[in-house]
Symmetry: C2
Subunit: 502 residues, 2 copies
């Protein structure tokens, strides 16, 4: 009876019933061999922007694959390589989601790789001693182990996520399931080089990029390798502080005890900026920062293993800006990335240096604007009694002021953060929980800064980063790799996203 | 009657009477042309120790010239080029004075000179605009101007003094005057490169160098270009302070506010070492230093023009270790000559550096021993709570101690100073006063360190530096030169020295 009834119900209801019972793991497993071959095929096309033809080949590879799924393919003109934009409308009533990927890869230094060519992918497994051992590609015809890895430039960053979404769409298609939103996908051709091409298109093609939400598919998942949602990232502003001694380097014998040494004034400025625990002492540096007890709980829930982390870093005691690692990232930071005097030889010159310099970066959070933070740094130096210039002092100024600082700056780019309980956040969290059987890790703010942050801000769209690759993928380094298990789980993540009502 | 009597007095009394009336200026003027030719001849022999044959030619030039004055010429074996030692005994009852000169010159970068070859001397005068203009060498056949200069490597440093003493001896000889002491003269073949050759001979030839006083003929006179006696110079000790962050540079986004930045610990250490006026705050750093009111007067008598000095240096306010420049040099100094983090590129890496380093030199005075001073610096760091190692920390130490410093050191060479009122000092001052009609400038301690300081200390002999060349001689730089007037006055200085009862 039941069976008979089924024959009469419309096709989409049958599909729905089947779908609700779909065993995604089995389905993915069934097609994993083809997916790996597809990934291998894609990764074999070198993707360094210096070779425009090969980049176009990469772009065409993506366009052609999506075209078979009914996507409209456009190439948008930019300041250099074109932007690939794919669009598919499922229902005019649906919201629209803009996915972001990048096609390019980091430069390669082939000599430092353990394989002949970073663009000829190699399949490897670990031997008993934990050493990577090459497997014959035929191995994928039998049982594929989640711990195997594919080594190649861009194998993880960012070609794996492109293959993940592509296959998630294919599976939904086969299963007759329609995504719950209309889709736009943009492919940045130069993310590793600052995203200038993409950013140059934002104003012109703002409407083409228009969407109700943005999902950035890039970067590694949490260190625990569990499904991760990242709700924001810090921005960055930079400045340089230069202090002055005499006009030229002076003999430390002839003038030691007479000519002021700019290293001591620089040291005194820097040491006034932070206390011993790493907390910034600059007035109002942390002002406006607040998180609710619920948010506090989410920060505490991130399963960071502090002991492992500290051992890996080789530190006894982290700074105490936050009570734990996640909390620390909710605050702006003040970092001296470089200090120097003019002479840089291995054998120091016995001189009193004429300048000392500190090159600083300030990581920003949503509550702290780049210009405002740098203004506070500058005001702090002025309050120490320094005459602060934005250029080297003139001879007259040197004789007029005994305490001079040159302060140069770039207000940089501000942070973004999407509310953890926004509609976008909630639906993604729910659907990931459903498919994985556990709540994904929520990162309120990741520490780093992604180049497309200014696009997110211009498009003024709620954005979430969905990082899917293994943390130890050697991204940006030799021997980049993707763990097979992460390809499986990444596809599931994409399926969950596509089924989220955004 | 008087005249008749004269006929009967012994020859040396006649000489004495003549001598007491010798007009040295006239005599020097009469022979200046030949002296300049001699100097030109000497300076034309390149004197870079890398060319051994040419160095031997220089050594022979000196030896041959002194041989005609009856000096015994010896070549003493060293670790590299031989030491030239000249000896002449006038009277076994006399004291013996060891003169020190060096024969070698600083390296040349011919492209930066305003003449074709730094070893082809050029005679120049200033035009109305103060620009140097080449003169034909025939110009020395007419009136020779004191303001003319001879441009060539080693024209001043240190060949001019060699020619000065040589000619002073010749003049005394012509005038039938015997020097008031027996003479030894040593010529260092590698002073500009650390005096290793000379220092290697000290133990072996200690007796050959034995003397009652040592006169070091090197370096420029006081800025006022008046006759100068220098009674000592500072020593030098060096150390390096390294502070630690994580084991490797870390991404300032991912770890800013978590991984401690070694620049801040270094800054805090350095800024605890000096107050804002430049005074060292390290315990006992200045202990034992004292000068009498008489010595204070001598320091104050040096005609330093502070305004000119500060304008030239481009500083409003010197450090306040002493009440004036000369006083400042009576104290040990603490100078950071270089600071650095590991990355030295022009485009800073956005990382939290793994180390920060300060390279320090401590200039020493007679009262402060190098080892003792560095011990005080080290104790100061320990008192700030740091675990101080003499090597990089192990992984275990990194996890055990949160405050680690690497402190490496070279105790260097101690200062020397001869009493201003020693017999040597008094007699030289008196005789220079007699010949110049004014008291010479006495420098109690010069700021720099001469490489042969350890020889002075091993030979344990009262030593005075007699600097004779013009301060603006571009010593160690392109366009080195000697002012003609300084050759004249330098010869007079030597005549005065040779007539001093030491």
């Amino acid at each position: 009876m039941k069976f008979k009834f089924l024959l009469f119900v419309p096709l989409f209801i049958i599909n729905f019933c089947l779908n609700s019972q779909t065993n995604w793991d089995e389905l993915i497993d069934e097609h994993l061999k083809e997916i790996i071959k597809e990934h291998k095929d894609f990764v074999s096309i070198p993707n360094l922007p210096e070779n425009k033809n090969l980049m176009l080949k990469n772009i065409n590879w993506v366009g052609d694959n999506y075209k078979t799924l009914g996507f409209k393919v456009s190439l948008l003109e930019s300041s250099s390589l074109p932007l690939l934009l794919l669009e598919k409308e499922y229902n005019p009533e649906f919201s629209t989601v803009l996915f972001y990927f990048h096609i390019d890869g980091q430069p390669v230094d082939a000599n430092n790789w353990d394989q002949e060519d970073p663009f000829i992918p190699v399949l490897k497994s670990r031997d008993e001693k934990g050493k990577w051992k090459t497997l014959n590609w035929d191995a994928i015809n039998q049982n594929i182990d989640n711990e195997w890895r594919i080594f190649a430039r861009a194998a993880a960053d960012d070609k794996a996520p492109i293959v993940m979404l592509l296959n998630a769409l294919k599976f939904l298609n086969t299963e007759g399931i329609t995504p719950k939103f209309n889709i736009k996908i943009v492919f940045d051709p130069e993310e590793e080089y600052g995203s200038n091409a993409f950013l140059s298109t934002i104003d012109t093609y703002k409407e083409r990029y228009d969407a109700d939400a943005m999902i950035i598919m890039d970067g590694p998942a949490h260190e625990s390798n569990k499904p991760t949602l990242t709700f924001g990232c810090r921005g960055i502003a930079t400045c340089t502080i230069t202090t002055y001694g005499a006009k030229l380097p002076q003999h430390s014998g002839h003038y030691g005890n007479y000519v002021p040494n700019p290293v001591f004034s620089l040291s005194s400025i820097l040491s006034s900026m932070k206390d011993e625990t790493g907390k910034v002492l600059i007035k109002d540096f942390y002002s406006g920062i607040y998180f609710s007890s619920e948010e506090q709980q989410i920060l505490n829930n991130v399963p960071d293993d502090t002991k492992v982390l500290n051992n890996r870093l080789g530190i006894k005691q982290p700074e105490k800006v936050g009570n734990n690692y996640q909390e620390a990232l909710q605050y702006p930071s003040l970092n001296v990335r470089q200090i120097e005097t003019s002479w840089k030889g291995n054998k120091p010159k016995t001189v009193i240096p004429e300048i000392a310099m500190a090159n600083i970066d300030v990581r920003l959070v949503v509550e702290t604007d780049g210009k405002a933070q740098l203004d506070k740094v500058k005001a702090h130096i002025e309050n120490l009694g320094y005459t602060v210039l934005d250029r080297d002092p003139t001879d007259e100024e040197r004789l007029k002021y005994s305490k001079i600082v040159k302060f140069t700056r770039s207000n940089g780019v501000n942070a973004f953060r999407t509310n953890l309980n926004s509609k976008l956040g909630t639906t993604l969290r729910e659907n990931l929980t459903k498919i994985f059987g556990e709540v994904p890790i929520s990162i309120r703010t990741m520490g780093g800064t992604v180049p497309i942050i200014s696009a997110v801000k211009t498009l003024d769209v709620p954005a979430i980063i969905v990082p899917t690759v293994n943390m130890d993928n050697n991204q940006h380094s030799p021997n980049e790799n993707i763990r097979i298990g992460n390809i499986r789980e990444g596809i599931k993540t994409c399926i969950a996203i596509l089924q989220s009502k955004i």
